[in-house]
């Protein structure tokens, strides 16, 4: 596609102002790069990065893009772990960073925020109003509110304890791919019954529109208690989770684990003594202090029946900060020692042990690479197993990195199909189209394509993600 970059810059400048349009290659490269382990290729590099301030400007960009048939890729903070953030074709990158105004309306029971606000900042602001932000990704320092809802990720949160963040969304202002600005949902704390277009856009991964304002119910900030438990083996933790669901025990808000190897790496990174075996850690929540203590004590009793090496409540906030840090940054700490190739396996809960065994088996017997280690951690109470192929060097050719990542993806998706899961954090398009086609009837994928075409006839937004382009 021939695009006159100077003219593009001039045209976009008319919409958002000259200072908010970048067509230099350094800026384009920086925005295109994501956490995918392989290098950018020429088709990933955007023509321009444009930074609108509001829905009107987003509308102007999308109308222009439709007239010129130039794809637009929406950018939050680029933290997706499955390539959602990397443009699949030369395009205009639409950066949401300037749309970050937040207004809290205690008297209305909700807050409104722009898509570009970072979660850590938003959490801080909400806590001043004694309110909880119901999403907990490891990347919250920089992950955006818009991206979170566009993927509807639970991250550390156990769905059965709190739900998905999208469950608390009351409505949006958003711009359709063809440039029309629409509003959805309600300003009441009572969500609509029946057909509510809000639901179509929650988790739509930027394929159906650009969120420009999000309205979310204010959730009272609960009390928290924390538990840490060590086990002889990871399998003991899996058994505990299976038992928790079987006995219908209300799950903790977080129920995380580090396997034997990940626990050593994580604890060492934060300066704690090396733990014995695998480690599980939980955050219990309740809306009263007494209720929270009661729940924590009951859960501790339940854990002790599972025969851990040790299980205890952590009252010291500084100790919890370190323990939690070992888990929250486990992915980054492991990456310091080499390369990691991840997966997201969310089996039916009674199949947890079998899925874990199969994950270990395929990761230790990859076709694309020999000599890697197996390492795992994750939101096991959800349940999510993040099983990793861990290579203790960064000196791996680009093509090999790609091959390992793709084999990991393909084989972990086979496990999701075999054991009835579909993921719960990383989204379903980008590199997961083959999974969608494999797991569901072909009409499911075809319906998504029709929906996309109905709203985005020129395939402007996030082109390539639904097609499965790399």
């Amino acid at each position: 596609m021939d695009v006159d970059i100077k003219k593009l810059a001039k045209d976009l400048s008319r919409i958002v102002g000259k200072e908010h349009v970048f067509t230099d290659k350094p800026t384009s490269v920086v925005y295109a790069k994501d956490t995918m382990p392989w290098d950018l290729e020429e088709q990933n590099i955007p023509y321009a990065v444009v930074r609108p301030a509001n829905g009107q400007e987003v509308s102007g960009i999308l109308r222009y893009a439709n007239e010129r048939l130039i794809p637009v890729h929406t950018h939050g903070s680029g933290t997706s772990l499955v390539g959602l953030a990397r443009p699949k074709t030369n395009c205009i990158v639409l950066d949401t960073a300037r749309m970050k105004d937040t207004r809290v309306y205690p008297e209305r029971g909700y807050f409104e925020a722009g898509p570009g606000v970072h979660l850590a900042q938003l959490r801080k602001e909400l806590e001043q109003h004694n309110a909880l932000l119901p999403v907990f990704p490891g990347s919250e320092l920089v992950a955006t509110f818009g991206g979170t809802i566009a993927v509807n990720t639970s991250a550390h949160g156990v769905d059965a304890a709190l739900g998905k963040p999208g469950d608390f969304i009351l409505g949006f202002e958003l711009v359709l791919p063809t440039g029309e600005i629409i509003s959805t949902g309600t300003e009441s704390t009572r969500r609509p019954a029946g057909i509510d277009p809000t639901k179509f856009f929650i988790g739509s991964e930027g394929l159906l529109g650009v969120l420009t304002l999000l309205r979310m119910r204010l959730i009272p900030l609960p009390h928290f208690q924390h538990i840490v438990a060590s086990y002889r083996t990871t399998e003991d933790i899996l058994d505990t989770v299976m038992e928790m669901y079987r006995q219908r025990i209300f799950p903790p808000l977080f129920f995380e684990y580090l396997d034997e190897k990940a626990a050593k790496i994580g604890y060492e990174a934060v300066g704690l003594d090396e733990p014995e075996g695998a480690v599980a850690m939980m955050r219990i929540h309740s809306w009263s202090k007494v209720g929270c203590e009661d729940r924590a004590n009951n859960f501790l009793e339940f854990l002790k029946r599972g025969n851990p090496i040790e299980a205890r409540i952590v009252d010291d906030p500084e100790e919890w900060k370190m323990v939690w840090g070992s888990r929250a940054e486990a992915g980054n700490y492991m990456y310091r020692l080499g390369m990691t190739f991840g997966s997201e396996i969310t089996p039916r809960v009674d199949k947890l042990r079998e899925a874990f065994r199969d994950a270990k088996d395929f990761i230790l017997n990859l076709d694309s690479y020999q000599g890697n280690e197996f390492i795992s951690f994750g939101h096991i109470g959800a349940p999510t197993i993040h099983a990793y192929a861990f290579v203790r060097t960064k000196d791996i050719p680009n093509e090999l990195k790609k091959a390992i990542a793709l084999e990991m993806r393909e084989k972990s998706e086979e496990l999701n199909i075999k054991y009835g899961g579909c993921g719960g954090e990383w989204g379903l398009t980008a590199q997961r189209v083959s999974f969608l086609k494999g797991k569901y009837e072909k009409e499911v994928y075809e319906s998504l394509v029709k929906l996309k075409k109905a709203l985005d006839p020129n395939d402007i937004l996030n082109r390539g993600n639904l097609q499965g382009w790399m």
Binding site: F22, D24, K25, P26, T27, V29, V30, Y31, K33, D34, T35, L40, R51, S77, G78, T79, D95, A97, R98, K100, G116, H118, A120, Q121, S139, L141, V142, G325, E329, N332, Y335, R336, K394
Partner: protein
């Protein structure tokens, strides 16, 4: 290629390759804040630019100079990367990148592969 340049380039390429693009460092950066969140004006962006300059994916041009020289060397990104990221001395690496540029030791482009 002189020895010093090669030494700096090797150090930079080795260290910058460790950046995982987690972007945890961006919010700490005064320039990122001042530009309302332009990623090429953040520590993460500067590291990526140095990498692309050294591997020939980028040519030396004004935006590169502007991005690297806009770093105030406050070191806030260092603490963040050491605590949560890849334990890089980010501001030192940016300083090395600036040194290469200011001494005319790197021009970028496909003839600059090292």
């Amino acid at each position: 290629m002189d020895v010093k340049r090669q030494e700096i380039a090797d150090t930079l390429l080795r260290e910058v390759a460790k950046c995982r693009a987690c972007r945890f460092c961006v919010d700490m950066c005064s320039l990122y804040q001042a530009t309302e969140g332009v990623e090429s004006m953040a520590p993460y962006g500067r590291l990526q630019i140095i990498k692309c300059l050294l591997n020939g994916a980028l040519d030396e041009d004004d935006p590169i100079v502007y991005s690297l020289y806009s770093c105030l060397q406050c070191g806030r990104c260092d603490g963040l990367c050491q605590a949560k990221g890849q334990n890089l001395e980010v501001s030192y690496l940016i300083r090395l990148g600036k040194y290469l540029l200011s001494h005319g030791l790197v021009k970028g482009g496909h003839d600059e592969k090292v």
